[in-house]
Amino acid sequence: MNHDENVIAMTQHHAHVDKVGAKMGMWLFLFTEVLLFGGMFLVYAVYRYQYSEQFHIAAMELNTTIGTINTIILLTSSLTMALSIAYIERNKKSLSILFLSLTILLALIFLVNKYFEWSAKFEHGIYPRSEELLNRPSGQILFFGLYYVMTGLHGLHVVIGIIVLSFMLVFLLKNKITSENYNKLENSGLYWHLVDLIWIFLFPLFYLIQ
């Protein structure tokens, strides 16, 4: 099934331009990302089961409004990302650049919101090793521990996404990504959607289930 002429032609030269292969590699990588977060969701599930009451009380302290706004922002950024790819496919470079820039901008706004959300928690004395937190029951310590680690690691993925997308922007500007060859942009888009998707799971688990 894999032996269409395309593949034969490719193996004849060097294999740098195998689009299907590149995308396959990307999906496999995303799979490992899912498992990485999967490990944490597992930890969350176990502790939620063990300390359901404490998790319930602690979750009420999270700011659902900021969480909702951030969810809308990330969802929108996924849309702009998809539009950017759709436009380069139709050879509309400037629109593609516009929507990619919007994606990066939305990602930055997400991080700014996150910053305000975290610092509000810090002001209330809720952070690892703080006296306030250590005096609480262990279920709440674990909840906030997981909250910081999981949203923090997700935030790190947003930062990496911003860096990757900025490179893509430069490639677009320099015509290294064109309507003929937008593989890189498409794969970065896949990564970005994954970052979005993980947030879609984090949001209800921390902010909504109370």
Binding site: A15, G21, G25
Partner: protein
Amino acid sequence: MANGTIALSEKNFYEVSTNKYSGILSWLLTTDHKRIGLMYLVSIMFFFLVGVILGVLMRLELLTPGRTIMSAQEYNSLFTLHGVIMIFLFIIPGIPAAFGNFFLPIQIGARDVAFPRLNLLSYYVYVVGAILALTSLFLPGGPIDTGWTFYIPYSVRTTSNVSLAIFAAFVLGFSSILTGINFVTTVHRLRAPGMTFFKMPLFVWATYATAWIQIIATPVVGITILLVIIERAFGVGIFDPALGGDPILYQHLFWIYSHPAVYIMILPAMGVVSEIIPTFARRTIFGYKAIAMSSLAIAFIGYLVWAHHMFTSGMSDTARWIFSLLTFLVAVPSGVKVFNWVATLYKGSIDPQPPLLWVMTFIFLFSIGGLTGLVLGSLATDIHVHDTYFVVAHFHYVMFGGTGTIFFAAIHYWFPKMFGRMYNKKLAKITIIFFFIGFNMLYFTKFIMGYMGMPRRYYDYLPQFAGLQKISTVGSWILASSIFFMFGYLIYALFKGPKASANPWGGVTLEWQIPSPPPLENFKEIPTITHEPYDFSQLKEINNES
């Protein structure tokens, strides 16, 4: 190959480079899978020797009861390092990264892996991980002393350099993932025309199954290690029981990776065995599909047995017997392989060359390791021998007697192909005898001591163990000398050995149909595959061509 070829294409991959550099840079910046494989091979062998030396020092300490050459704390660091180096720097990358890189593309008739630059990157990620691991030895705080399993709560409380050392393991895991992604994509995309999945050599099948485990299991240990680092650095409550955490949960997450990891270690070795046996029995492999499928079965079931490391940690009885049952199930596909190998040898025209002798050693040692695994997999006997030398012995029989001996078998099998020279076969055979004697003296005594109740990781022991401990230590000297001797004649052969022909063993897989050492792009023309992988009727054809 055929006459009248252009002189340029006759150059092998040592003589032409994939980049504009020559000398050392042509190696350090290469994207050629063969050069990257060799760089892995050299690095891996280096760390293997470091691990061997650490092991010999530990055995020396145990020569007499009480203090012999080091303090108890140094001994703790030593067994941790021996474990970390041997597992994360030698056995896990060992066969796939070195021989997989070199031979997987050739065996499926490709010019390179799917992502050559990613391949180089994964090598450097490996090097960074190795450097981090070594750095953690010398920084203030002292080398890591938790044992290679990094169990909570000790690993969050000790002041030794745990964070850096386990971060090294994280980085090495990342390298392993990248290699896995590369191999899976390569197998799916770059097989030569006519090479269907069921015409692939079994080494490719095994490496393919391994690559999947690397992708599926490694991220879990990655996040577990990250959580421990975060817990140590920021005091976030996750596993530490003082903050409400659950240390058993850590053990589950750790073994969800680290048990499949033992299949990452053994599967490629089983693949090499399936290559060597048909070549030296001059006979097609018995039960090709069964062997190929058993690799996948091992990969799949192996993912579901992790909690058999935790029978004494605290789990419900139901969970324990389910995990025990699943553990027994893994023995089925492993048995399928061993019986098929033996059946291949039956009525074969056996040529006892060094690679086959290594494989024989493997089958013997690995069978002992496998059968004692069943003792550990049974709930009742496990309680008795848990955390004793019995476990240490079992582990070394399957890992060192299994993967380690096959690593040597692979070197002896592919040495002429990789370097274009032949080693001294007589010396090789003598080495195997000493290796076998030393190995069994060193580790079989541990089965007995473990059964008598000698706990693992102890610095000191009761007088009744003194005799067996001495035999074991003497065994370590014989074993280590045989290994150093082997390195000696191999390095000699590298420079002074007689030139090897393209097909010195009479193999029929694709790597034997190209010159030794292979040309830069492996094949002048991508071959079209018409034969089964171990069809020896084509041997005449190949020999006439080359």
